[in-house]
């Protein structure tokens, strides 16, 4: 497991993983315009990290991805989602205060990126939460299974 896979897989992974991450961020960013959203885009980004983990093994992992940083980012995403939900508590829980307001994300044209009110921000929060959550699950399970195999 430490050595990773063959040089073909490693080379293809070097070509592809940045594109996968970019596509995942595109899905998150355009969540309120095109099919997809925070959950789907976060899963796509996490799949890129899973590809890197499978291709290169856990040897190249040390120092690149910090498990505690990932878990902190997941909690930041969850708290941001909850805070955005509480932003409209004056009217109702999950009330969209920014939609149709004309402010930052409040454009009244539904086909532009800066529309949707709180929807893009919630997509980013949930996307951050899902990608860091799945990547930390992967890292924890790989580390756990490797130590079981070694010992």
């Amino acid at each position: 497991m430490n050595g990773g896979m063959s040089i073909i897989v490693k080379t293809v992974t070097r070509f592809v993983y940045a594109l996968i991450i970019m596509f995942g961020f595109y899905v998150i960013m355009h969540g309120h315009l095109t099919p997809g959203g925070g959950f789907q885009g976060g899963a796509v980004v996490a799949s890129a990290f899973a590809l890197v983990l499978v291709a290169f093994g856990t040897a190249g992992l040390k120092g690149v991805l910090n498990r505690h940083l990932l878990q902190s980012l997941e909690e930041v995403g969850a708290l941001a989602f909850l805070g955005l939900a509480f932003a409209g508590i004056g009217t109702a829980f999950f009330y969209n205060i920014l939609a149709n307001s004309g402010a930052v994300f409040g454009k009244t044209d539904p086909a532009v990126l800066a529309s949707g009110g709180l929807l893009p921000l919630m997509n980013w929060a949930v996307g951050l939460k899902v990608m860091t959550g799945i990547v930390s699950i992967l890292i924890i399970m790989i580390i756990g299974s490797r130590e079981e195999a070694v010992e």
Partner: protein
């Protein structure tokens, strides 16, 4: 006796499936569409989002998404607790 019961149960389920398949509504015409029509008609003016699914998930039914996020958080915490216990036992 047991075989007869099995055959009877099989025939009952098969008859139910045949009846359900023959009396099914035609594709694309569900029986209750008030909520769907409301979402499709008012999503672009109320939430200003072209993706109706995201508007439903994050705005109209945001509480459900909060539950999903909680489920994912619980999954991460569960995996962490599980593997941490194994590692401490082995040391």
């Amino acid at each position: 006796m047991k075989r007869a019961l099995t055959v009877a149960a099989f025939l009952l389920v098969a008859a139910f499936l045949v009846v359900a398949a023959t009396t099914m509504r035609p594709f694309g015409e569900p029986s209750h569409t008030e909520m769907d029509d409301y979402f499709l008609a008012n999503c672009q003016t109320e939430v200003v989002a072209n993706n109706v699914v995201t508007a439903v998930v994050f705005d109209y039914r945001g509480f459900d998404t909060l539950g999903e996020a909680t489920v994912l958080f619980a999954a991460v915490v569960g995996v962490l607790a599980l593997f941490r216990t194994v590692r401490e036992d082995e040391r």
